[in-house]
């Protein structure tokens, strides 16, 4: 299954604003995407509660996985999102 390992760039981690933007993007990806934290727990990336439950901090490595014809494109754009500081106001 295609996957990407990404270091979370948002200075405050994947909390409300970055988590919200990320899960919204995952929901629009067109393919189911899973997000796995450093502790090995996986959730549906399109669920903001799931993303928040992982408690991902700044600089933590996470893994994105997706399956399907658009998986590579979806993973590229989501990985880019995670590698961006989404908490800049």
């Amino acid at each position: 299954m295609p996957e990407r390992t990404v270091t979370v760039a948002s200075s405050v981690g994947l909390h409300a604003r970055p988590a919200s933007l990320f899960s919204q993007a995952a929901a629009k990806a067109g393919v189911p995407v899973t997000l796995t934290n450093a502790a090995g727990k996986s959730v549906n990336a399109a669920s903001i509660l799931g993303v928040l439950s992982l408690g991902i901090g700044h600089g933590e490595e996470v893994v994105l996985k997706a399956e399907g014809s658009d998986a590579e494109t979806a993973l590229d754009s989501l990985a880019e999102l995670l590698a961006t500081d989404l908490d800049k106001d």
Partner: protein
């Protein structure tokens, strides 16, 4: 997990910060009430409430299951005196960007404390039965019971 020393959610909620029969004209009114509860608990300076409004204007704090989690911006962290939560229930519901919210969990946290707090809260809300029970809670004892650490979640 990011912060192994995180306190239990329930340890951060003063009983007077649990208010279960509130009404609000709109989501910003609800946020100001949540902020007022945190202010009365001595957790924040009043300026944190403005930071909560700023945050909400930047991105909705609705997280699903009829729950929103108003909190301040990064800049607003300086207005936090000690980590605390407030739980306000609006039995009539509030329109929150097209979603209906029944429970607002206001969060004041310094440093990166919010990450572990949100993780604990989200884990509770991912259980549909617990989320339903929180939306219907009528006593602070029920709220404490729902938000208390789950031994099965310990790692």
């Amino acid at each position: 997990m990011s912060d192994d020393t995180a306190p239990a959610l329930t340890a951060l909620i003063a009983e007077k910060s649990i208010r279960l029969t509130e009404t609000a004209t709109d989501k910003f009114d609800a946020i100001r009430q949540v902020g007022a509860a945190l202010l009365e608990a001595g957790a924040i300076d009043a300026s944190y409430i403005d930071a909560m409004i700023t945050r909400e204007n930047t991105v909705s704090t609705y997280v699903g299951e009829g729950v929103s989690i108003p909190h301040g911006t990064l800049a607003g962290k300086e207005s936090v005196k000690n980590d605390a939560l407030a739980v306000l229930r609006f039995p009539d519901g509030i329109d929150w960007d097209g979603n209906e919210v029944f429970v607002c969990v206001g969060i004041a946290a310094r440093g990166n404390g919010h990450i572990a707090l949100l993780s604990q809260l989200a884990t509770v809300l991912m259980d549909p039965a617990k989320a339903e029970a929180l939306r219907a809670a009528t006593t602070s004892a029920e709220v404490y019971e729902l938000l208390k650490p789950d031994p099965e979640q310990e790692e």
